[in-house]
């Protein structure tokens, strides 16, 4: 296969532009990232700076790879990450436009690699159950109804890749945040902090500068783990309960708010 790539190249100083590359020897068996590897090998031998892109496990679970491919986060196939996308999904002669995730809280580092530390800070604000090592009761001491465990697992499948933000016309992170709130909120172990968790995570999410959900569903449509919009409804419910309880943000979220005021 012969392909033309239209790739966003961005330098350290923040300036960027599209550059066109030819990929003349593409095998349909290559993964999308292997295709980029091959292009990069050629670029290096020609003395040109290779295209920087994030990747690691290359089996669809680490969440490191990203890429907006022809205007779709993770490319044309549903339920897979870019690393699992194979070139047989394209046709000989195709032109492929490749862009980074674009959102204010995801600054571009270089070319196609973006900084997703905002996601980590949202988890730090409350995406956990406060249990220190050693203080756990026996694993079977608390029953978890199977449907609850299954629903928690559905939400916990999130790999934190950020495709939801990239695809959302509002650049909202609510699918990501909702998935964590739903995961822990479905389990009996997560009940004690449920309302506070929602409030803290939503506060941090807003402070990071993510947009707001208008219930369009683009996030769920591109999610490689096919996480449902339900998780956003659960997050909303938990936040409403938190505000009715009159809770205030605590921990990192409170600190972030204070800093923002200054």
């Amino acid at each position: 296969m012969k392909l033309t790539l239209n790739v966003w190249r961005q330098k350290k100083d923040g300036t960027g532009a599209f550059k066109t590359y030819q990929a003349p020897h593409v095998s349909p068996d290559m993964s999308f990232l292997e295709m980029l590897d091959v292009v990069n090998e050629d670029l290096i031998l020609k003395g040109e700076d290779p295209i920087a892109f994030d990747h690691d496990c290359r089996e669809g679970i680490c969440g490191m790879c990203s890429l907006m491919i022809n205007g779709v986060a993770h490319g044309p196939n549903q339920g897979v990450t870019t690393c699992q996308l194979h070139m047989r999904s394209f046709k000989d002669g195709d032109t492929i436009t490749i862009e980074p995730w674009r959102a204010q809280p995801f600054p571009v580092i270089k070319d196609l690699a973006v900084d997703r530390a905002a996601f980590d800070r949202i988890i730090q604000a409350g995406g956990f159950i406060s249990v220190s090592t050693g203080s756990a009761p026996d694993a079977n001491a608390v029953q978890v109804p199977k449907p609850a465990a299954d629903s928690a697992m559905d939400a916990a499948a999130c790999i934190g890749c950020g495709a939801c933000v990239a695809a959302c016309p509002n650049a909202s992170a609510m699918l990501f945040v909702g998935a964590k709130i739903a995961h822990l909120g479905f389990l009996p172990q997560g009940q004690a902090e449920r309302s506070q968790r929602a409030l803290n995570m939503v506060t941090q999410m807003d402070a990071e500068g993510f947009g707001s959900c208008t219930n369009i569903g683009e996030c769920s449509a591109v999610c490689p783990k096919e996480i449902k919009l339900d998780v956003i409804a659960r997050m909303n419910r938990d936040l409403i309960v938190a505000s009715l309880k009159g809770l205030e943000p605590t921990g990192l979220a409170a600190k972030t708010l204070e800093q923002k005021k200054k």
Partner: protein
Amino acid sequence: MSDSKTVPGRILDGKVPSGPIEQRWDKHRFDMKLVNPANRRRYTVIVVGSGLAGGAAAATLGELGYNVKCFFYQDSARRAHSIAAQGGINAAKNYRNDGDSIFRLFYDTVKGGDFRARESNVYRLAQVSVNIIDQCVAQGVPFAREYGGYLDNRSFGGAQVSRTFYARGQTGQQLLIGAYQALSRQVAAGTVKLFPRTEMLDLVVVDGRARGIITRDMVTGKVERHVADAVVLGTGGYGNVFYLSTNAKGCNTTATWRAHRRGAFFANPCYTQIHPTCIPVTGDHQSKLTLMSESLRNDGRIWVPKKKGDTRAPQSIPESERDYYLENRYPSFGNLVPRDVASRNAKQVCDDGRGVGPGGLGVYLDFSDAIKRLGKKVIAERYGNLFDMYKQITGEDPYEVPMRIYPAIHYTMGGLWVDYNLQSNIPGLFVAGEANFSDHGANRLGASALMQGLADGYFVLPYTLSNFLAQIKPDGMGTDRAEFAQAEAEVTGRIKKLLSLNGKRTVDSFHRELGKLMWDECGMARNDAGLRKALARIPALREEFWQNVKVLGANEEMNQSLEKAGRVADFLELAELLCTDALNRTESCGGHFREESQTEEGEAKRDDASFSYVAAWGYTGNLAKPELNKEPLTFEYVHPSQRSYK
């Protein structure tokens, strides 16, 4: 091997406590010294790696109140490669009432490791396995449940009891996210500071103690010194020395190898595990191999054509011209023989010219009988997601045509030598998870890697590291010591050199060549001639690398070629030690199969009289002449026996 190439070293002491095995850990925990809670924040601990071992250790040490700095090369601590483990995690809970016990898990693990692990470590692992499940459930890990709401278990990897806990096919991911959440909580609490996209490039040893590391910020290129009272490496295995493996692309040996060069012993590097059911290579562009769950062998039948070079489509090869070689050779275990046996047999038939698919490196895993017997629906229920994944990657529909599979490097049992306290021979340097050598012997059982990583991180290191810290005083040492300056200068020198070479070959081309050499000569089966060939070729390749590699760009930016170059340079050194170890160990054991040492039936033959020891290699400054230190292995509770799967 004639020992002319190695320097004889000393006999190592694993510092195993005395007494009955079931009391050793408890007694040791009581004997260890404690640090007063008020004093803990005065100690700084560096943790490199944020996977199950590193992440769990960093979180737990943070909870205890130490000042923890955690470094990792990914952009988030949630992405460490522990995340890719699919199957599950073992624990001796005996929730099934099917005869499991701590002793049985201990016994199975020692036996599975082909009697090359330290008994006391394994027993402790089995003991704390039960706490791991409790901890993970409390953290919110959504393990599979039965309708009654209690935890579900399955039997895994041929175990005769159901002791594997799982969260769909994503157990590693869920456990890692549990550890990541615990870690995140400590970051918010201010006890742990994270250093994402930061790579450890050297270990700093001052006055014989590990006192810090040199790192490179992979975004800005800034090389920095970090000082601490102790250093923990949880940096995973070195499977990527083979270039193609099931490891993540970024997995590397740099942290462990640099520590080795600073004096830490590297133990049993030749113990590498090969997984039989991976999707075969499709061409030179192949960048990694994807694992398909071993459970596929429960219903799939493995075969190759009887005739060499038979290129007919599998459906048009009649039953009489198919060789179901595992069923024929191992009538009682059939397609369910252990990983190493299945892998070796696949290699044999492919070497024999009967492999299928591109390049002849593959065997069929055929579900047509199972579909006939059980119906497509049942097979789809059992393996639907795996079939979909296979179709996604290969473009072939396994419901219609047999899958093609081939073995791939999956896990490395070897690693830095540690004593019972997980401390290396350098005081203050602790090593956890896949990065150390300790618990799996020569072969790891399925669903045990997750168990070991979390055991080390949550339940062993927090005690043994505290014991170490309790015996030293925080001395407020800065990073201005000569040792730091020297290590930093060496790191920047290496970076400068790599950037200045401007040769003709890319980093990947060297890595691919090294990987192929290692796979061919030191892969599933090893022999004297092949290993010597590799040992002759590796130094030459290394020399060529340092003259002819092409790394573009600058240090002061994100430079992925530069990152890779540093890692491949270290793989080029480790590879030599790996082959030296394989050459030295003339027996077959676990994942290490020496063709010279096999039974009449072609099975692995151990040589307990000569090799019942841990080979802990010391760096001498001359890669061709490492120092061989030995830790003798004694078996008081599980008596060595030969495996048989006939």
